[in-house]
Symmetry: C2
Subunit: 229 residues, 2 copies
DNA sequence: CCGCATCCTCATGGATACTG
DNA sequence: CAGTATCCATGAGGATGCGG
């Protein structure tokens, strides 16, 4: 009992810095993945639980509670259940998340064997990786993967994605495995190369025209060896 | 001993998603703050320790090691000591961090009593919050805060910041407390308002001209009450 | 001094069971 | 369906030690 002040557990970083305060809100484990799930639209509690694939239910409940009190997530008691959705401020996390997705592109060149994949995640990833791509006149491209259709609406303003039903009739329907989509996304692979490898079926020329070689993002990746090796 | 596989601790999220893989690399506590420190330039181990203000030394060593093996951080054995610096890929985190700083702006309207502040952090924060601001002909604005000078170089391409010596001769030298700078940054306050409150001394007109009302970022902030209350 | 490694305590995360 | 409650393993935080 010599020391009066024992073990001050520092839940926040205690720094007068925007980044530190942002991390005080969304820096805890699972938080940004919860936001990613909700970017594609509101979800029920159990839908979140299954889509996040591995989160403990007490953690999910705790994270949703703190995100709600911070004003990132909104809890809507709707007909027959509870739905969680992003607040307008939470929607504002789309830009940082897209930037992180672009940064992570070099990490996606290796395939995801043994990893979970949900087409829902492409609603964040595809516009992030196709940033700067425009189309005039506007075009609608449907990407079918793992049984669901991601609808990409491309106009002069950029790319917008949403989950679509099968009877949504896009101009073009691509059928692609997730590894190809995110490998394309990686930018380390050229579109021509992927198409030549036969991974892409359907009207690939539209995508190739929209994403020509001279507009591919220059990417610099990890310089050291992967620590998982 | 009924269960053979006991407690698989899931160091990674195990998701085939760019965001999840990025968080596998930089999602652990302190990681992004380490990157923030190094964005203003290389630092020694003890400099990192004091600037981060609260990190345990074993954690800092561990984080630096994993960031190095992932290729985000580079360990340089220079004259008289060890310096840590960002790799080119690690430098690429500047864009996501700036986006997070912009998102966090509504969190910065309250002052930082009892919080640590380092002028070094402005090297990330000020360009982030002045994104879109240009100047022609180019201008150099020095911001003196807490005894150090942050040099803002503004040209047609945007704003670039770096730590400067006192004998760097900028076109304009502003003297401002950090609360004002990041309050300005917050965007919730207008520049005119802050200037009128007398918090800004020096040539404020230059900044006001560079950041007119019609170019201020629209901000939407947290909707619920702050949970710290 | 600088650059960590070790040790200990407590808080947090993770898996499962359980309940209105 | 939407979460609590509980237990245990790991991780964070702090002090200290120690070789260069």
């Amino acid at each position: 009992m010599v020391d009066v002040v024992k073990h001050h557990p520092m839940k926040t970083y205690g720094q007068f810095c925007g980044l530190a305060r942002a991390l005080d809100v969304i820096g805890d484990r699972w938080n940004l993945l919860i936001v990613r799930e909700l970017i594609a639209g509101p979800l029920r509690y159990t839908e979140l639980r299954t889509s996040l694939a591995g989160v403990a239910t007490n953690l999910l409940a705790d994270r949703l509670r703190t995100l709600e009190t911070f004003g990132v997530v909104e809890r809507r008691v709707a007909e027959g259940g509870v739905a969680y959705a992003l607040t307008p401020w939470g929607e504002g996390l789309r830009a940082p998340l897209e930037a992180l997705v672009r940064w992570s592109a070099p990490l996606m060149v290796t395939g995801g064997e043994g990893e979970v994949f949900r087409p829902r995640w492409l609603v964040l990833a595809l516009p992030a990786l196709l940033a700067g791509v425009t189309a005039s006149p506007p075009a609608v491209v449907g990407v079918e993967v793992a049984g669901t259709v991601v609808v990409l609406r491309v106009d002069a303003g950029g790319v917008h994605a949403e989950l679509g039903a099968e009877d949504d009739v896009p101009d073009t329907l691509l059928s692609a495995p997730p590894a190809m989509l995110l490998g394309l996304a990686a930018g380390a692979l050229g579109v021509d190369e992927v198409v030549a490898a036969g991974h892409l079926s359907g009207d690939a020329d539209a995508l190739r025209r929209a994403f020509p070689a001279e507009r591919r993002r220059p990417v610099c990746g990890p310089t050291a060896a992967d620590p998982s090796a």
